[in-house]
């Protein structure tokens, strides 16, 4: 079946089962491999992308849900790594292995779009679905605050 979806501003028509998770359409069909597979059960957040600006966990989101809507992946968050979160992430050396970071950044981007000056509690709640096994959480918190222009105490 042909499913039409817009990814990072570009229209695609893909010939896939409409129940195929968006994650695998992105990775295996469109070769956008920035979005990661971490658990396949919406438990870890590595697959987070935006659907019309809202975070969805693409590993459990059927591609037909994206039909007629705008998908944004890490590759489309900015043209050149210049999103304030990406800059803050680099400036503070947030990543360690880096695998979870696309999902972390996409969730944080939705957070800042909805709450430009989140409290610490709001950061922790919105980021609670993104697991990092390397333990970069302290720097993730700091980078979100930096990107939001929240001064250190």
């Amino acid at each position: 079946m042909t499913v039409k979806l817009q990814v990072n501003g570009v229209e695609h028509a893909v010939d896939v089962d409409p129940d195929m998770p968006l994650l695998w359409v992105l990775r295996d069909v469109l070769n956008l491999t920035g979005t990661k597979y971490g658990c396949g059960q919406a438990l870890c957040g590595a697959c987070a992308v935006h659907l019309d600006g809202q975070v969805v966990r693409s590993c459990v989101t059927p591609v037909q849900r994206a039909e007629g809507r705008a998908v944004t992946t890490i590759e489309g968050l900015s043209a050149d790594g210049s999103h304030p979160l990406q800059r803050a992430w680099v400036a503070l050396g947030v990543p360690q292995c880096g695998y979870c970071q696309a999902g972390q950044i996409m969730t944080a981007a939705a957070l800042l779009a909805g709450k430009p000056k989140p409290t610490d509690d709001e950061i922790d709640r919105s980021m609670a679905g993104n697991i990092c096994r390397c333990g970069t959480y302290p720097r993730i918190r700091a980078a979100i605050r930096k990107a939001a222009g929240i001064a250190d105490d």
């Binding site: 129940d19 998770p21 396949g40 059960q41 919406a42 438990l43 957040g45 987070a48 809202q54 975070v55 969805v56 966990r57 590993c59 459990v60 989101t61 059927p62 849900r65 969730t107 944080a108 939705a110 957070l111 779009a113 909805g114 709450k115 709001e122 709640r125 919105s126 980021m127 609670a128 679905g129």
Partner: protein, 217 residues
């Protein structure tokens, strides 16, 4: 050999954080134990045959309906606090999620970030249209049957519905329907949605009487 023995009651640790007095985190165990072996829900005909008094029959019908209301598949998303529960043991939802200002989760962790409109192949996350928490006024966890009954009858607390609309909701709402086809090996609510709706209708038609505060099924 010395080992740590026994659970530590949260109350023994001193202060337990509560958002508001009414939104204390729910107790871990269900108020009434889940009867996993009984999928049956008794029909209106049964109560017709066994409870001749209209008022008593009405109360008994509602009490029967609470076997659905208070079943984990339903009550888990009717919490008193800010987080849903999970599982038959009704532990706090993991990953941690919060109600948000519109009962649909917080930004980045909206209910529909994970929960889809339709059942999924291979993914175990429960799915049904418009997955969300019931508003706080519709909290059932920790409530008596009497309390739930009063809430359901109160337009100020039931989404402005008439009793007929309540029956409609029980019979046809797709999120309500999920309780009986929860997938992934989860224990469904007793009976069927159709039977549940019949019970609710029979309750309405018999006067929508509420059980006494101390009544338990």
């Amino acid at each position: 050999m010395k080992r740590f023995v026994g659970p530590v009651l949260l109350s023994a640790l001193g202060t337990v954080a509560c958002a508001t007095p009414q939104s204390a985190e729910p107790p871990r165990a269900a108020a009434t134990p889940v009867d996993k072996t009984s999928g049956d829900l008794r029909s209106p005909a049964f109560f017709e045959a066994t409870v001749p008094d209209r008022v008593e029959r009405s109360r008994a019908l509602f009490l029967e309906a609470t076997r659905v209301f208070l079943h984990p598949r339903c009550v888990n998303c009717h919490p008193a606090g800010d987080s849903p529960m999970q599982g038959d043991a009704q532990y706090l939802h993991d990953p941690p999620v919060w109600r948000g200002s519109e009962d649909r989760g917080v930004v980045g962790m909206e209910c529909t970030s994970c929960h889809q409109d339709q059942k999924l192949d291979l993914a175990r996350v429960p799915s049904a249209p418009m997955w969300r928490l019931a508003p706080r006024v519709m909290a059932w966890a920790g409530q008596s049957a009497h309390g739930i009954c009063e809430q359901i009858k109160d337009p100020a607390r039931n989404g402005g519905r008439t009793l007929d609309r309540i029956v409609e909701h029980s019979a046809h709402d797709p999120l309500v329907a999920w309780g009986w086809t929860p997938g992934a090996g989860r224990v469904p609510a007793p009976g069927t949605q159709a039977l549940f709706a019949e019970i609710v209708r029979a309750w309405v038609e018999s006067g929508a009487e509420c059980p006494a505060e101390e009544a338990r099924r």
